[in-house]
């Protein structure tokens, strides 16, 4: 996965080109600027939006929901995944069912969440949790299964306690898979929360984006899109960076 300076330059070039095309399409009027405000206008609007207290509040609301849902879904999902993977019988029974659950688009359950939780914090967190937990469970079972029996036997033959086995064998074996799971779970989590906000909400950045769209405020809408995209990419890249540092031994 090492990429030379040439590859990196090409990537930057593509990004710059995309923004340039965007700018040109809008400025020359090839695409109606009311439908597609220029890139520079959008970025300006973005910096303007970030100054606004109301937008910051929306971001804070969304961030709280995202973090809460994630902080609940990851440990709960990991625990369930671990228990399933450690027990042959549970694994045989539960795995196909999990695949069933995973294959259903979670968005169709959103109206039910609104009926049960009302419109508010609990509905967002609940739906984010629900969107995330299946992928966490499945990834954790994969992570546990990636622990080699040979390594466990070695630990046992040198008299490792269960605690030592957990921290010196299970954890390092599972870490690369777990970090990848964390990254992908966050994508599901973020999608779930934003969707819940767009569908029915009084606040949150997803709600704002939906409102800007409905009111045909294209500059604000595009700025919101760029903002969410940047936040999601930043988190993803951060975990990916940790991932490569922790899994250099996986070749």
């Amino acid at each position: 996965m090492q990429s030379g300076p040439g590859v990196k330059a090409a990537r930057v070039a593509i990004l710059v080109a995309l923004f340039a095309i965007w700018e040109i399409l809008s400025r020359t009027g090839i695409v109606n600027p009311r439908l597609l405000p220029s890139a520079s206008d959008t970025l300006m609007t973005l910096s303007d939006l970030l100054q606004r207290a109301s937008v910051r509040k929306d971001l804070a609301v969304t961030a709280t929901e995202v973090v809460t849902a994630f902080a609940l879904a990851v440990p709960v999902g990991a625990l369930i995944g671990f228990l399933i993977a450690e027990n042959r019988y549970f694994a045989d029974v539960a795995k196909p069912l999990l695949f069933f659950a995973f294959s259903i688009p979670k968005s169709i359950f959103l109206p039910m969440f609104i009926l049960v939780f009302g419109v508010g914090f609990a509905q967002k967190v609940g739906f984010g949790f629900f969107s995330t937990i299946f992928i966490v469970i499945m990834s954790t079972t994969t992570a546990v299964e990636s622990v080699k029996v040979e390594h466990l036997t070695v630990a046992r033959s040198y008299g490792a306690t269960p605690m030592q086995t957990a921290f010196r064998v299970y954890l390092p074996s599972m870490l690369p898979v777990l970090l990848e799971a964390l990254r992908i779970s966050m994508i599901f989590n973020l999608t779930g929360i934003i969707l819940a906000e767009m569908y029915a909400s009084r606040d949150g950045i997803g709600h704002q984006i939906a409102t800007w769209g409905e009111n045909f405020q294209m500059k604000q809408l595009l700025a919101g899109v760029v903002m969410i995209a940047a936040i999601a990419i930043a988190f993803n890249e951060l975990v990916r960076w940790v991932e490569t540092r922790c899994s250099h031994w996986r070749t």
């Binding site: 040979e150 390594h151 036997t153 033959s157 030592q164 010196r168 390092p172 250099h248 031994w249 996986r250």
Partner: protein
Amino acid sequence: MQPLANITLLKPAGAIEVRNVGQVFKTTTQDVVALEDVSLDVKPGRFVVLVGPSGCGKSTLLMMMAGLRQQTSGTITISGAPIPEPDPNRVGVVFQEASLFPWLTAEENVEFPLALRGITKSDRRARAQDALKLVGLDGFGKRHPHELSGGMKQRVSIARGLVQDPPVLLMDEPFAALDEQTRMTMGDELLRIWAATGKTVVFVTHSLTEAVYLADEVIVMSPRPGRIVDHLQVSLPRPRTYEMLSGDTFGSLRDRIWRHIRKSA
């Protein structure tokens, strides 16, 4: 540690006694007899090879000597005491190639057994260095397993088995995944290490040539149920040389083992 010291007064360290050992695996449909009435004496400092076709229980027997598995009947003692659970002070185990931890360096792998005992970092490092030097890997300590060849990885495994200086070294098909040349070289290396340390070695293999080449004694086992069918003394002088492979003594020992194995296959 204290009781072990007392026991070693009665029995020399490194002696292995296997008495009427049986192992039955219970499955949902039937009971499989993996080992039946196996008895065996290994004197301290001997190099004993267990050989036989798949399913003869040679690895099972080794795992029981390591305390990794308990027999259904009979007794096993190492240095005079039973081994109800793994005891790295009495027994070091060397597994097949995949047994090194890929996220640790060579020296960290060797230090692993010491780290479990809470031995200080500097002490650990010093003992790992000695063990790596002994197996001919001086200067390779900082490499990760994926940066080492198959033969080097097995040297690291042997160093890990020796780092606590146990009187007994159990080896479960340690060279099975290696190519033929590396395998021969590693055999010579193992004999050198064995001569230098005076350990009791019990070595499991599929290879008849490897068995005769390495061993003082070869135990031939046969499956269904797993049992000992022959116990050969290899009278070839040491150090063993490549030329011995084509000699009459070597050939007749190899043939004798082969006849047993052909019968049971």
